[in-house]
């Protein structure tokens, strides 16, 4: 009983700041917005119907899913060589290399976006090099559009992928790769036939985590898209604070949560089946 008592303060704070607000979010999603734009208490599916029948919602959903799937795939593809390098490095370098891979987690997302502005902007580093070499005369637009969001999102998801891959691949037996090499396999053949299959579960886990984080990412799409890239997260934010249509913001947030839960369950089922085989 003393155990429950010791957990009580923490549980009460979470009840006030987590359980109650989330319940309220669910409740408000069933309210209606009248013609004046004010919220009316109700138990109705009107708001959900309004969102689901709006073509804009489906554009947003498609944008969000393709954007985060692409960024997650790119992040995993780049995190894999980083992880393999860390794994093959001499032990005294491993700690530093791993720290460098996850260090961006300590830097706030907005700060990293500022760095990208200096790299990708019209007068940024890349355009300075391109015009300096005479490859282009006009600056290439790399930010404040979808390209910028793709680059920024990939970078922001990479540290998470590195974390998952470092943890997942540290358990792989590197002697298997050495054995393949001894038996005459080339480097690329060893990678394709031994390393990649062994790393597959970790790669899938990294992709799933990056995808889920990408779908709900807000700072990078808003800042690197320059207000011109619309995803579900930016729409929820605008509905809540610009339009002040709380029922619509809540319903869209509930749909986002539902999608994420379905995605996680689906992944659980798929990986469970993979393990059983």
């Amino acid at each position: 009983m003393i155990g429950l008592l010791l957990c009580l303060p923490a549980a009460l704070i979470l009840a006030a700041g987590f359980v109650w607000p989330v319940l309220l979010l669910g409740r408000i999603s069933f309210n209606r917005t009248n013609d004046m734009g004010a919220m009316e208490q109700a138990w109705t599916l009107e708001t959900y119907a309004r969102i689901v029948t709006d073509d804009f919602t489906w554009d947003l959903a498609l944008n969000t899913i393709t954007l985060s799937a692409g960024a997650a795939a790119a992040a995993v593809a780049l995190a894999l060589p980083v992880t393999l390098l860390i794994r093959s490095a001499p032990p005294r370098w491993r700690g530093l290399l791993a720290l460098m891979a996850v260090a961006p987690l300590l830097v706030s997302g907005t700060a990293r976006v500022v760095g990208w502005m200096a790299i990708l902007g019209d007068q940024g580093m890349i355009n300075a090099v391109l015009t300096g070499l005479g490859i282009t005369s006009d600056p290439v637009r790399l930010i404040n559009n979808l390209t910028g969001v793709r680059i920024g999102l990939t970078e922001s998801l990479m540290p998470y992928c590195c974390l998952v891959l470092i943890a997942g691949m540290s358990r792989l037996d590197s002697r298997l790769e050495e054995a393949a090499a001894t038996l005459g396999a080339t480097r690329s053949r060893t990678f394709l036939r031994v390393t990649l299959p062994l790393a597959a579960p970790a790669l899938a886990a990294a992709f799933a985590l990056a995808f889920v984080l990408g779908v709900s990412a807000f700072i990078t799409p808003r800042l690197m898209g320059g207000g011109r890239v619309f995803v579900v997260a930016t729409e929820i934010f605008d509905l809540a604070l610009e339009t002040v249509d709380w029922p619509a913001a809540s319903a869209l947030a509930m749909l986002l949560l539902g999608t994420l839960i379905v995605a996680m369950v689906l992944r659980g089922v798929l990986s469970g089946r993979g393990a059983a085989r």
């Binding site: 303060p9 923490a10 006030a16 607000p21 997302g109 700060a111 976006v113 929820i236 947030a253």
Partner: protein, 262 residues
């Protein structure tokens, strides 16, 4: 197996992407120019001077630091007893509680921020200290509970039992034996909670107002509307605080050891 040239090249590309933004922020923050252009036309400290002269941003910095201190204290005060119970005591619903106390981390901060806005605005708690403290506690308490559970779990139970045999009450033994031995974990947990609150942007964006704002929110708004190197100097300030906290903890207890035990 030694890495081939292709793997090395791909890994360098990966590291370049990971580290380029922070490096560029560092360089541009010392720019003498008026824009976020590269290479900078010259180097100066003018944007750091402009930052110190900017009353609004300095107030936000003070707010963020105070808020982070308060949030870290709250998280430790409520998180430590809970972590002790989860690590040491047997009671019904222990597993469920352990899961519940880290559950807010599973929710996207965007959804959590919206939910907190809906709950705090009608209660007139949005853009107030109690409101922001409660909101930030939702992301700090789970970290405190998780790290402290590991820290308490790492202290041998025999020591506490020996204290009982020597006549200490259970409370005395927990307070005088286990807690001091778990202190490195508590320092690491406090530092992490401080940083989580100090860097928190998305939840704060829903809850701040003209009366009360935080540094990450001000930086977000600045980056949204303007592109001069002041925002880079601001970003460096945030990075500097994060680095200082990590180094301080490293000096005190060894961050990697304190956090890396789980």
């Amino acid at each position: 197996m030694k890495p081939g040239w292709f793997l090395r090249f791909a890994a360098i590309c990966g590291y370049a992407l990971l580290l380029a933004p922070a490096v560029l922020v560092f360089v541009i923050s010392f720019s003498a120019g008026d824009f976020l252009n590269f290479p900078p036309p010259g180097f100066s400290l003018r944007w750091y001077a402009a930052l110190i002269d900017n009353g609004q941003l300095m107030t936000a910095l003070r707010n963020s630091a105070l808020l982070a201190l308060a949030v870290a204290s709250i998280a430790l005060v409520v998180g430590m007893p809970a972590a002790y119970a989860i690590a040491r005591l047997e009671f019904p619903g222990r597993g469920a509680l352990a899961g519940f106390l880290v559950a807010p981390l599973l929710l996207p901060t965007l959804v959590l921020g919206l939910a907190l806005l809906l709950a705090l605005q009608p209660a007139r708690l949005a853009a107030t200290w109690p409101g922001l403290m409660l909101a930030h506690a939702m992301v700090a308490v789970p970290f405190a509970v998780r790290i402290m559970t590991t820290a308490f779990g790492g202290v041998p139970k025999d020591l506490e039992e020996a204290a009982w045999t020597l006549g200490a009450t259970r409370f005395q033994a927990a307070l005088r034996v286990t807690l001091p031995l778990a202190a490195p974990g508590a320092i690491a947990a406090g530092a992490l909670c401080f940083l989580v609150s100090f860097d928190e942007t998305v939840i704060s964006l829903f809850l701040v107002g003209p009366r009360l704002s935080t540094l990450p929110v001000e930086m977000f708004r600045y980056a949204e509307s303007r592109t001069d190197p002041l925002v880079a100097a601001l970003a460096m300030t945030l990075i500097g605080v994060a680095l200082a906290v990590v180094l301080l903890v490293e000096r005190l207890v060894g961050f990697t050891r304190a956090v890396g035990r789980n």
